[in-house]
Amino acid sequence: MFKTISELIDITKAKKLPISEVMILKEIDETGRSRETIVRQMENNLEVMQAAVDRGINEAVESHSGLTGGDAVLINNYLRSGQALSGDFLLNAVSMAVATNEVNAAMGTICATPTAGSAGVVPGVLFGMKDKLKPTKEQMVRFLFTAGAVGYVIANNASISGAAGGCQAEVGSATGMAAAALVEMAGGTPEQAGEAVAMALKNTLGLICDPVAGLVEVPCIKRNAMGASLAIVSADMALAGVKSRIPCDEVISAMHEVGQRMPKAFKETAEGGLAATPTGKLLQDKIFFSTSSQKSRL
């Protein structure tokens, strides 16, 4: 049905349907499953996301390595103080993105969007903007289908794997997905959603995957915070009428090329970037020394 963002937008125009509906119809066509089953599965994913956000915001979860945790609570407390400089809704989205990834790092239950390491961006933006846009449950489920449509195009034309394309493929993809979904939820057009994807991806192009100690913690969790805020800003710019000078599909092609030519050290091997800093290496030694001593005690 569609392989590119421009084909997706053409279908929305020809059939006068939102992106989310085109995605649902494609899913029915592809799998032969009923609309009801498909929507119910997405509702279930939404519930998993909500539960992960709630847990991270309320519990101050700590990861197994002890390296991360509790930041969502800090941000949320700060937000309640009314001092937030970046705006209540934006920071709310950030706190919820961080909450999700803290739960993920603690080996909790999450829904990959599109991956686990980037699972905070989409729910962060969705639940963070809930108070502002007051969506119905159906609109929230549609948000996920729209995000899925964008991720589907990126996954098939570039990559959603950090090991294959760097962090731009993970947090970058999630940011583009969330930006488009937010545009649709706010009442924008599919073209504006496409512009938002382009602007979001342009700003994560080249982002490397350099997890300290190979853990999905540093810098992954904070990059989800950045992704959530960038998605909201990209959506706002697109809704304001700003257009990307480079068409969205060409940005996705560029992302693929950058991922292909990115050195291995920056593709989830924990051999470069932040993972290779003196502190990064020190943390790695500390974590694996303590894990191996734990194992020898068993």
Binding site: T31, M107, T109, C111, G151, A155, G214
Partner: protein
């Protein structure tokens, strides 16, 4: 198109921390377990590329073993899979391989139980999506563009026809198929790629047919 469903992107629901290194690893382990048909006594786990470099941090070891114990990606028991394996009498050996393969997230599993042995190589291509590229030394030529069905069966006439018959009955179209065996009359492997999804009920129906040993599916 390697990614076909919206749930390849929004999903899977899983235990963290990594869709490729945890959920994908669990799925590869589970396909291996299903094809082996029972819990193995020992498994050699050969890790390549990013899997070899970061498996401890990503819980890849725990997830692979969880899959070998038949746990799904969202099964909370994955966290304690190494302890569960020890209790269940499943011994494990991990090997960090230096060789660079085509895909950075590749794992080769060798499952053993008594004299029985099965080798399987899987790759985790992102977002929890996986492909099986080798089985018992046969390079599989699957495109990865459709759901796949793996069947170990007794090498007898009619086996292929009965499986094709069940798929036809459920209006499932075969887009690619390969059949291989090492010794005539013994165990053969059927690998089928389809246009439509194969539900657990259909997989069960196939495994109940005459001459079938074990059946695994990959969506």
């Amino acid at each position: 198109m390697k990614f076909r469903s919206v749930f390849d992107i929004i999903g899977p629901v899983m235990i963290g921390p990594s869709s490729s290194h945890t959920a994908g690893a669990a799925r590869i382990g589970r396909v291996a377990r299903q094809l082996f048909g029972k819990q193995p006594e020992h498994v050699d786990i050969h890790l390549y590329g990013s899997f070899a470099k970061t498996y401890k941090g990503h819980g890849t070891d725990v997830a692979l073993v969880g899959g070998l114990l038949d746990y799904d990606t969202f099964d909370e028991r994955i966290v304690q899979a190494l302890d569960d394996a020890e209790q269940a009498g499943l011994s494990l050996a991990f090997y960090e391989e230096e060789e660079e393969l085509e895909h950075p997230n590749t794992v080769r599993l060798v499952l053993r139980s008594g004299v029985e042995e099965m080798k399987i190589t899987g790759v985790s291509i992102g977002g929890g999506k996986v492909e099986i590229i080798e089985l018992n030394d046969y390079d599989l030529k699957l495109s990865g563009n459709g759901p796949a069905l793996f069947i170990l069966h007794h090498d007898r006439y009619g086996a292929v026809a009965t499986v094709a018959g069940v798929l036809a009955k459920h209006e499932i179209n075969i887009s690619y198929m390969e059949v291989s065996r090492k010794v005539r009359g013994q165990t053969a492997l059927m690998v089928i790629e389809t246009d439509q999804s194969i539900t657990p009920e259909i997989a069960k129906e196939i495994s109940g047919l005459p001459h079938m040993f074990n059946v695994a599916t990959l969506d």
